[in-house]
Symmetry: C2
Subunit: 133 residues, 2 copies
């Protein structure tokens, strides 16, 4: 069960890697996310001009919980690396939605959740993430 | 045996990740190197100003063989990502040495080897890689 969940997460991340390469970004999945003393986002991508670090969340539920520590780690990584940090959320049978760290900080408390309906209203689509508004 | 070899490689890469963070670079190991249709270097690091992609080689032998395809993949990744590409070589009981793609292209043929003595003479040390000459 845990393996299946992990597998689904990896597949969804691979799909995102593919979408990024298709749009001219070199994108990689990071190893050791969650088992390392340094902050590690799930995906790092760059097209030479813009660098993006994404913490990915895939869920079958209708809302997804976040811990302040995850956001702090993403922010810490991005500050040193020189990247824009995003949380990418994929609800089942939905497309990816993206939130900036600023979005999360300004609208939510310490530990918090983002719902499926929040995402489709307030989240950026993949094309919006890449600046195709 | 294969697992031990892989483990030693991973440990040496983790050591390099640690050295990079210590010098102000956010560094990550990439997942799926060698099992992905897109080019994936072993390590990506950035301090906000400089981005470095490293293909790592660890060996117990006194020389290490390279394939042109590995170098081409590193170059392709770096071109899209906007990173400097390096081959990092670690011979047993030695420190890491680094070669630029240019170094390799200008001095060697298609498939080629780098020896332990070559590395200590022509390779960059870790400090030289980061510009501490």
């Amino acid at each position: 069960m845990i393996k299946n969940k992990k597998q689904k997460g990896s597949n969804a991340e691979r799909e995102l890697i593919h979408m990024l390469w298709n749009e001219g970004y070199a994108a990689i999945r990071a190893a050791g996310s969650g088992s390392c003393k340094y902050p590690v986002p799930d995906i790092i991508a760059s097209n030479g001009a813009r660098r993006i670090a994404i913490e990915c969340k895939i869920t079958k539920e209708s809302s997804k919980h976040f811990y302040q520590e995850e956001i702090n780690d993403l922010e810490r990584f991005c500050k040193v690396f020189g990247a824009e940090g995003y949380i990418g959320i994929k609800f089942e049978k939905q497309d990816w939605f993206f939130f900036t760290i600023e979005d999360l900080r300004h609208t939510k408390g310490q530990n918090f959740s983002i719902s499926e309906s929040d995402s489709s209203i307030k989240g950026l689509t993949f094309r919006q993430l890449l600046g195709f508004f």
